[in-house]
Amino acid sequence: MKRTAMVSLLALALALGAFPVAAEDTISFGAAVSLTGKTAKEGEYTRDGYNFAVDTVNAQGGIAVAGKKYKIAVKYYDDESKSERTAQLIEKLINEDKVTFILGPYGSAPSGTAAPICEKYKIPMIEANGSAESIFSKGYKYTFAVLSPAKLYLKGVIDLVMSRDKTVKTVAVLGENEPFSKEVASGAADYAKEKGLQVVYQELYPTGTQDVSALLTRIKGMNPDVVLGAGHLQDSLLIVKQAKDLGVSPKAMGFSVGPSSPEFRENLKGNADYIFGSTQWTEALKYNGDDPWKTPKGYAEAFRAKNPKYNVIPYQVAESSAAVIAFCRAIEKAGTLDPTKVRDAIAALDFMTFYGQIKFDSRGINIYKPMAIEQLQPDGKKYTVFPAAVAEKEALYPMPAWDKRK
């Protein structure tokens, strides 16, 4: 009886599910993004960005490949914000759903997991949300990122502060111990040293930390001019909250992730004011690209018209759309759907978009597009304040001490 049971169980397992093959004249993309779990929100931005670009391209007739027009379809799975899930899902997309190309997941850790799988099957992936350079240091040929690398995230904050204040001397950097944030932190610290600043504090804390008061207390003792945080939204919120608790009042505070998201102000209310946040893209930027929307403003308006729930457009949406546009451009250039040829076409891309320049270095990473800096200001809005050429408003500097505010 035991044996029969086991046999029938296995037979049942065999019978489970078969998926339909993509229709003719459609190029199928696959993406595993986090729709539940820790990064559900960012995963949603990513998906919405992909979808918006796909719909726009399809509405304009699709992609022309060797004289024939193809529509695009994206098959999504939820990786539950678990990077080991990503590996399984990419396998599933490639082997079971037979997608032709992969769009990246949300986050550096899952992108790092996805890259070798794409390499294994020689399927090109353009990802828009994994900027850790470690993903690109393994020599993989099939993975590309449209966004600026992690180490550049906080460079702008340092440049901005130094341009406003010649007396700035000291910087403290604290970061989360995970691939992306680690690179943001070390990139920021290296850049600060390069600029002649003194990095008085540089530490990593474990993922999921619920209390950074120990780190901030040390930082307070060193009284740095600038405090830079490299982590995720939760860490940024925690750092600001506890900095106020402990009266850590530097002249400027900047974060790699957090301030650009609407939740930052929702959680911190007035305490969010004066904080700098780095961003891959804002709608205030002044690019003029060769794509369906041309400018950031054009993109923003079109996107809002289709997605009215978005008041402010997070950069994850834009960069995800840019990944789709890059794919389309490369496929058209290649004139074939052959993965290897498309891969070569992606490697050779160099064009301007609403999102900025898209061009990959030999590792597959886009080092040519600069980062922008936003600041939350006391009028309750968020302004692009750097680079100066595209700034909407002048940055408010220095940040008033916590107890000197109204």
Binding site: N177, Q210, A214, R218, L237, K241
Partner: protein
């Protein structure tokens, strides 16, 4: 480390001890009396945090005033969960209750996630982050208030267990369930009350945490682990042990965190394991 910094770190540790004591209080009670390691404790904490958050956000209730509401709600839930579920397996071996409460945790956290989404939330009031300065040391009002609330609840529970009829019955049941029955104790009811009080304390801890850390549905897991560690450090048996365990944990965490933040958890756990091996009955506990 300078003197000012040392002072601040010391104060941080004291303030943290209070909250952690409250976090571990209900967990310790349930473990000590019912011999159940309640892995769903963290889920109860999260529910408390959400109650405070929504009362503040939607009705403008001051977070400190919402603590009794959170406690009452979690008390009720705890009662129902105990009578309906935990009680069915209470005599089963260790692993069973361990996994049962794990299943419960999975279920509750996922349901919170489903209904309230994974968005980060925090309760921010006009007095959030304000405080006063004592020499070089800064003391935030909310943290001080949280310490106060924790101490009041710790003392209240200690008094309740020591001096009330039900409290005495709870302790008696924890020591000898059959002998307690022979004095007329309805064990199922006492267990339900114990578990409900544990959940209620978790609710209060959640309320306080919602003012202190930004949270999402997964906040609780880390605090269940902490509660576990605190009980091991302090030993089970009475409320004072919880306070001692929480203080040890807080001081280790804060001081290691100040020096070696990236290894803080490893060091804390290493100390915990070492302590378990050397003094399985806890630092404060007596060997029986």
């Amino acid at each position: 480390m300078g003197g000012a910094e040392l002072g601040q770190i010391f104060v941080n540790a004291v303030l943290l001890s209070g909250i952690l004591a409250l976090v571990a209080l209900g967990f310790s009670l349930v473990w000590g009396i019912m011999n159940i390691v309640n892995l769903a404790h963290g889920a109860f904490i999260v529910l408390g945090a959400y109650i405070t958050f929504f009362l503040h956000e939607l009705l403008g209730v001051d977070p400190f005033l919402s603590i009794p509401v959170a406690m009452l709600a979690l008390f009720t839930l705890g009662w129902i969960v105990q009578r309906g579920l935990i009680n069915q397996v209470i005599k089963a071996p260790l692993l069973a209750t361990f996994l049962l409460t794990f299943g419960l945790e999975l279920l509750i956290v996922n349901l919170i996630n489903y209904f309230f989404k994974a968005d980060l939330r925090s309760v921010t009031t006009p007095y959030s982050g304000t405080g006063f300065t004592l020499g070089p040391v800064r003391i935030p009002y909310i943290r001080l208030g949280a310490l106060g609330v924790s101490l009041v609840l710790v003392a209240a529970l200690a008094w309740f267990l020591k001096s009330s009829r039900t409290g005495r019955a709870i302790r008696a049941t924890g020591m000898d369930i059959d002998a307690a029955r022979l004095t007329g104790v309805k064990v199922a009811t006492i267990y339900a009350a114990t578990f409900a009080i544990g959940a209620g304390m978790a609710g209060a801890a959640g309320s306080l945490l919602s003012m202190i850390v930004p949270f999402d549905p997964t906040l609780g897991g880390a605090y269940t682990q902490r509660a576990f560690a605190i009980c091991v450090l302090g030993g089970l048996g009475n409320v004072a042990n919880v306070v001692i365990g929480a203080a040890i944990y807080a001081f280790v965490d804060v001081f290691v965190g100040a020096r070696l933040p990236s290894l803080s958890r490893a060091v804390t756990f290493a100390i915990l394991v070492l302590l378990l091996i050397l003094r399985p009955q806890g630092i404060a506990g007596k060997s029986v």
